[in-house]
């Protein structure tokens, strides 16, 4: 008997009608004779409503109590979905995170799953019930409700699939799969039939937005066969797995891009003396995510380091740099906004030298200036002006043979 975990996000369960639709969809799997576990998020805008409510009480609400508050969102969905199954003649039981045995660290708002005690779910599944589990939430060892942070319901689904030894974990969402690039901006973008965990991880990290990186990492580490597909149609989605048959033998498998990037350049008073660590330690202490870092050690004076951040972190970054200028020991900082990051991703890159050169050449032909570069084994990212972002993505998508 196969075990299937299906995850439906907030937009897929936004109304009672949609919840009944999700139940019908899951019943089709159940009727194939599978053991079925459904993981759901809070309905539509519930989380926003709860956040607003907390905001009326306190400007900086306790994180533990935020978890207590937010966890009600999925609890509403699971109860309604279980009711829907029953009204359609199928036995189902709902489970909150703690009832499903999802034990996490004691880190409010951003806990990682430590163990899943599957005894109760196993028993209920074996008795023929559909299990409806609240995504995004768990319980720490002393019984506090925790939440898993952004993309948490994806992680719940993958972790449950791993713990139950599921044959597949299907993430139902409002797009019908993983695309070579964002179809809203890149005309030739097309859906991938398959993609490797590592490629998906890079795309997820690059803001492709379909799946949360933590969930992909969990799937990779536990070899959970994952798929992303549409909740509104029956077309096959994208399968994410370890070994893939590369379609068309392409080196580049996807083009991701992200606007709203700022570049910060810091010049030192004297040659480099450990200040580099100081800067990034201070920024990390203030929860500012630094992405690309470029440090060129040359004889030029003064030496400098550049790094990219999200534009929304710029004010806070300026504040931190100014506050700790003495400590960090730099002489001047300048800032450039209106930038974007464009990346190409593909497992094949590692064995194909010259992909970066090819990328720069494509951008040069388009007259697009490259401000920063970052490379990994399966990814190359460049920072370019935001006004050139779409053109860069389209040109790369075409030139690397991704377009239909």
């Amino acid at each position: 008997m196969k075990t299937v975990v299906m995850k439906f996000g907030g937009t897929s369960v936004a109304t009672p009608e949609k919840i009944i639709g999700v139940a019908k969809r899951a019943i089709r799997e159940k009727e194939k004779g599978h053991r079925v576990v459904i993981v759901v998020s809070a309905m539509g805008k519930t989380t926003d409503t709860l956040l607003a409510l907390a905001g009326e009480i306190s400007a900086e609400p306790s994180k533990r109590e935020m978890d207590m508050l937010l966890a009600t969102g999925e609890q509403v969905t699971i109860s309604l979905l279980a009711m829907a199954f029953k009204s359609l003649g199928h036995e189902a039981l709902s489970f909150t995170g703690w009832q499903a045995g999802i034990e996490t660290e004691s880190v409010p708002r951003n806990a990682r799953i430590e163990t899943i005690h599957t005894e109760r779910l196993e028993r209920v599944l074996d008795n023929g019930f559909i299990c409806v589990v609240a995504g995004f939430q768990g319980v720490d060892r002393i019984g506090n409700i925790t939440t898993l942070g952004r993309g948490g319901s994806d992680t719940t689904a993958v972790a449950l699939a791993a713990a139950l030894g599921a044959d597949k974990c299907e993430i139902y969402t409002d797009v019908d799969g993983v695309y070579t690039s964002d179809p809203r901006s890149v005309t030739g973008a097309r859906k991938l039939e398959q993609i490797s965990y590592d490629e998906m991880l890079e795309l997820a990290n690059l803001g492709a937005g379909v799946l949360h990186p933590r969930a992909v990492e969990f799937a990779k580490n536990n070899k959970v066969p994952l798929s992303v597909r549409a909740s509104y149609s029956d077309v096959p989605g994208t399968i994410i797995q370890e070994v893939i048959t590369v379609e068309k033998n392409l080196i580049v498998r996807g083009v991701a891009f992200e606007p709203g990037i700022a570049r910060v350049t810091v010049s030192y008073k004297k040659p480099f003396n450990g200040s580099l660590a100081n800067i990034f330690t201070k920024l990390a202490e203030h929860h500012i995510d630094v992405d690309i870092i470029v440090q060129s050690i040359t004889d030029e004076f003064p030496p400098s380091v550049s790094f990219s951040i999200k534009e929304e972190s710029l004010e806070e970054t300026k504040r931190v740099l100014n506050e700790f200028q003495e400590n960090i020991r730099f002489s001047a900082a300048n800032y450039e906004v209106g930038l974007s990051k464009v990346s190409i991703v593909g497992s094949g890159m590692v064995s194909n030298p010259g992909v970066a050169a090819q990328m720069f050449d494509i951008l040069r032909v388009q007259g697009i200036p490259v401000k920063m570069v970052s490379t990994s084994e399966i990814k190359i990212s460049v920072v370019v002006p935001e006004t050139d972002m779409q053109a860069a993505a389209n040109a790369l998508h075409d030139a690397f043979g991704l377009s239909e």
Copy 2:
């Protein structure tokens, strides 16, 4: 160090502002050096909203899932209230029913509390935290969320007070105490300083509406010192306890009344032969609450029995009687609507014969016909036309010396 349990109902926590008000009120108790436990209900109309949501999914939603759904209501309130305490500079932690160790029977929608495992609350209280506990909910032995039925939050408060050996349990509500009668209808009604558990129990059962009978019974059985007071003002409320100093030495302590009563009279085909049990068994099976039953065994033929029900149950009662007419073996049933029940309550009645006669005389003087009578040791109820209800209540209130 004293322990105080304070309970605030739905209207007292209906908005974020009101929640902050509740926090301020409780902080005053905390600052007296007490250990403070707050029990809260769902905010305002939350429960209605959730019921409506369930109604969109299923006409007859699973009771287990209704509990799962409804329990989110108080969970929202406890998290917000704990946030409010923190924002006012006081340490507080929120607890759902299961986190507070409230173990109940496995009876969805109407579970009774079986045990309270107070270890965690005791520890947290001893560490100086204010404990905010979700009313109305608990958990059964296998980990299903249960709810306690109507008035459940009162019961949670009283049960916690008993389990923690609290020095007082204060029920904050939208009235400032227990009245001799409903001030909206009875002009002379005044607040009682004290009332006994038994009297309160009769008044609660008679629809005085301030406190749920189950909570009063729990308080009586566990000798929990209870008080009812206003959440919006500081005036002292009414203390409910075992032995009371009777003010003014009055025999009658309160007048309760309830409109919307119907009387059903069933005539048998032949002399009484066990049909009586049949009728009330069938009605109980269909969850129809029968209140007063009058059976006069005389030589008259055909024999008959009359009983009172709530008018809203009349259609269902007719259906049950018709369906089981053969089984119940009666020849005819007739129905009278537009009735009401008026009751006088007082512990002193038991040692004062003639109170009933006095009551009938007062009603006779007013020209009010008595349709049915029921007596207990500390209560006499009569069924009178609904149009006479208010006049009856006022006349009894005045004649028994309750008016100011």
